[in-house]
């Protein structure tokens, strides 16, 4: 067996932007073109607005809870923008912005947190799996989707998302290994935001980096500055290309930071200080990309207004959609479990229907 040290990630996370938004040259990595950057910027602005709006809806009691990706939007947006129409996205509960960037209606996405049903959108419509809650389990599903596509000779790539905490689960390991052995075209994309609820990365792993896990499966590992939109785009694009062209699975770790509490139900002052959070404010992906686009003179005032307007429209539609009363009908409880309800479920549905008819009497 070869030693394959080239499977190891770079010593530092890849950057294409410095702290002030100035481009950094990387001989190996083409800088995304302006069209791509503008699309990403638009999605970033919309994504940030969606995060804020969802937070507000929680405060108003319209949503039960919301895990915000504030500060991680570069990762969210890039994960979707690098995919083609026939590719698949496998998101977690925190990846709402990635899901809507792929075209899913935010109101459908938030069905779960509104409490109407579990998964709210049609996974086949945009090839986006239901957002996964049981950690790391979805990574295996991603491998299965990719393997099935490969068996049929399709050139589908699957983008499978997870957090730093989820890498500790056995399913992370099994997914990486299955993908590598089956040469399944999956890009495993870890958003390392330094926390799993209250648990910091140092209590999660002693590895040099999470991308160093790749070599143990024979999988190429990469690290990227997760708040550097051009870099995330370029690194993920390269990974998707490698997976599509038969290079097997790829592992990418983005270094980013969870700017807010785990969800609105969490109290992060119990386990981290603002001293730790503050420095990350200046690394905001939105600010950095905006600085670049201004420097490149691609972001005119008119365009900016147009984008902000679009974000406001999305937020308004969210407000409107989430506030709409859409109480699901109790008969749904029995409708979807099996293709054909069992006799037992028919009986039970009848019991409930009878109760409800008596209630409404």
């Amino acid at each position: 067996m070869a030693d394959d040290r080239d499977l190891l990630p770079s010593e530092q996370p890849v950057q294409l932007l410095d702290a002030s938004g100035r481009p950094v040259d990387d001989p190996d990595l083409p800088f995304p073109d302006n069209g791509r950057l503008l699309a990403a910027y638009t999605a970033l602005v919309v994504g940030r607005r969606v995060n804020d709006q969802a937070g507000a809806l929680v405060r108003q009691g319209r949503l039960a809870v919301y895990p915000s990706s504030h500060g991680q939007e570069a990762c969210q947006v890039a994960a979707s923008l690098v995919l083609g129409e026939n590719d698949w996205l496998f998101p977690t509960y925190r990846d709402t912005v990635a899901v809507i960037t792929r075209g899913v209606d935010p109101v459908e996405v938030l069905t779960l947190l509104k409490g109407d049903w579990h998964a709210g959108y049609d996974p086949y419509a945009h090839r986006v799996a239901p957002q996964a809650t049981p950690l790391a389990t979805q990574l295996l599903h991603a491998v299965g989707v990719a393997h099935a596509a490969r068996l049929r000779g399709e050139d589908t790539v699957v983008m499978a998302l997870c957090g730093d905490g989820a890498t500790s689960e056995g399913d992370f390991h099994e997914a990486l290994n299955f993908a590598a052995v089956l040469k399944a075209p999956v890009v495993f994309f870890i958003q390392n935001n330094e926390y799993a609820i209250s648990v910091p990365l140092a209590r999660q792993t002693a590895a040099p980096s999470l991308a160093h896990k790749g070599i143990g499966y024979g999988v190429n590992g990469e690290r990227v500055d997760g708040n550097d939109t051009p870099a995330v785009l370029a690194v993920l694009e390269r990974a998707v290309g490698a997976a599509r062209s038969g290079g097997g699975p790829q592992l990418v770790e983005a270094h980013t930071y969870r700017m807010q509490a785990h969800t609105n139900a969490d109290d992060d002052t119990r386990y981290r200080s603002s001293d730790e959070v503050d420095p990350w404010v200046s690394r905001d992906p939105l600010v950095r990309l905006e600085a670049l686009l201004k420097r490149k003179r691609v972001l005119t005032r008119a365009r900016r207004e147009e984008i902000t307007g679009r974000a406001e429209a999305v937020a308004a539609a969210m407000r409107e959609g989430i506030s709409r009363d859409t109480d699901p009908h109790p008969s749904e409880l029995f409708a979807h479990l099996y293709a054909e309800p069992t006799p037992q479920l028919r009986e039970q549905a009848a019991v409930l229907a009878d109760e409800l008819s008596r209630e409404s009497d």
Binding site: W117, H118, A119, D122, P123, Y124, A129, P130, P134, T137, L139, L140, H141, A142, V143, G144, V145, A146, H147, A148, A149, L151, R152, G170, D171, H173, E174, A175, N177, F178, V181, E332, A335, H336, L337, Y338, A339, T342, P343, Q344
Partner: protein, 331 residues
């Protein structure tokens, strides 16, 4: 493959069902540990890789959650995976994938994503197996809404139920009684085919009903035979499909005799046998001359080989339970 076309073992019947399903439907994929060139440790997948190629029947890395999770993804993407868990207790690492995803995905997505997956689980004892190789784990699955759970007791049922399971758009946990793998029986492909969800009366009888499934069906039949010698006529129902359960057949049987014993190998507490006893009682209370008795495994881990006979429902234990059913001549 079978040397005598009219007689087959359950293992051969299962193998034939897989082969026929794979030949008929190109989306059927078989995978798991050692199911490829080896043909599985019980040889149920024997010859499939040779016949259908390495893509259609393949060995995975050694990880059961991985196998189940891979099946979820392949099912999402148009395939009908048939996966093998090497032994009952080795399916436990896959429990989260089975309970939180395989069982729930269709419901979670309002029916948009179906999970036509068959999980084959060789189960139960009677083969002198060591620890972790003889668990009766059907209750875990039967208690989980969204799964179907079936278990054949004859080669013919094994063949037809596996074909039905593979054709089902919903996930089926297919529990294979290991100790019946090698019993040969007539196999008439033209005989009436059991559907998932149907029980069958295996032996008519008028005095009491034995309700059994999987590895306990032969025991129930033997007990009925022994009782007949003593002049007592026992009816035997083979449940066959634990979920969905065939209340109609089972309750009609019990009502016809007024007495019932449930026979199952799994530990009794909070088991499928508990469910059968409870639901039969709820539905047939006024036809019952005596409480429904359960003959089950004790509430202990499966014993080592030298003690396993004490855990398995025996003919004597079934007859003891029948004797307990408050017969008039006792009183």
């Amino acid at each position: 493959m079978a040397t005598d076309p009219t007689k087959l073992t359950m293992a051969q019947a299962l193998n034939r069902a897989l082969r026929d399903a794979m030949a008929q439907d190109g989306t059927v994929y078989v995978f798991g540990e050692d199911v490829g060139p080896l043909g599985g440790v019980f040889r149920i997948t024997d010859g499939l890789t040779a016949e259908f190629g390495e893509d259609r029947c393949f060995d995975t890395p050694l990880a059961e959650s991985g196998i189940a999770g891979l099946a979820v993804g392949m099912a999402m993407n148009g395939m009908r995976p048939v996966i093998e868990m090497q032994f009952d207790a080795f399916a436990y690492p896959a429990f989260e994938q089975v309970v939180s995803h395989i069982a729930k995905l269709r419901n979670r997505t309002r029916g948009r994503v179906s999970m036509p997956i068959v999980i084959r689980v060789p189960y139960a004892g009677g083969i002198g197996g060591v620890e972790h190789h003889c668990d009766s784990s059907e209750a875990y699955y039967a208690h989980t809404p969204g799964l179907k759970v079936v278990t054949p007791a004859t080669p013919a049922d094994a063949y037809h139920l596996l074909r039905e399971a593979i054709a089902s758009d919903d996930p089926v946990v297919f529990m294979e009684p290991k100790k019946l793998y090698w019993a040969k029986e007539e196999f008439d492909p033209a005989a009436p085919r059991p559907g998932i969800g149907t029980a069958v009366v295996r032996r008519p009888g008028t005095d009491a009903t034995l309700i059994a499934y999987g590895p306990s069906v032969p025991t129930a039949l033997e007990a009925a035979e022994a009782a007949a010698q003593e002049g007592r006529s026992l009816q035997v129902v083979d449940v066959r499909s634990i979920v969905p359960f065939d209340d109609e057949t089972v309750c009609a049987a019990v009502r016809s005799t007024g007495r019932a014993v449930v026979v199952a190998e799994a530990s009794g507490f909070a088991s499928v046998a508990s469910e059968i006893a409870a639901r039969v009682t709820e539905r047939c209370f006024h036809s019952l001359a005596a409480p429904v008795r359960r003959v089950t495994g004790f509430d202990i881990p499966f014993p080592p080989p030298k003690l396993e006979r004490h855990q398995l429902p025996s003919v004597d234990r079934v007859l003891d339970a029948v004797d307990d059913l408050q017969w008039e001549d006792d009183q």
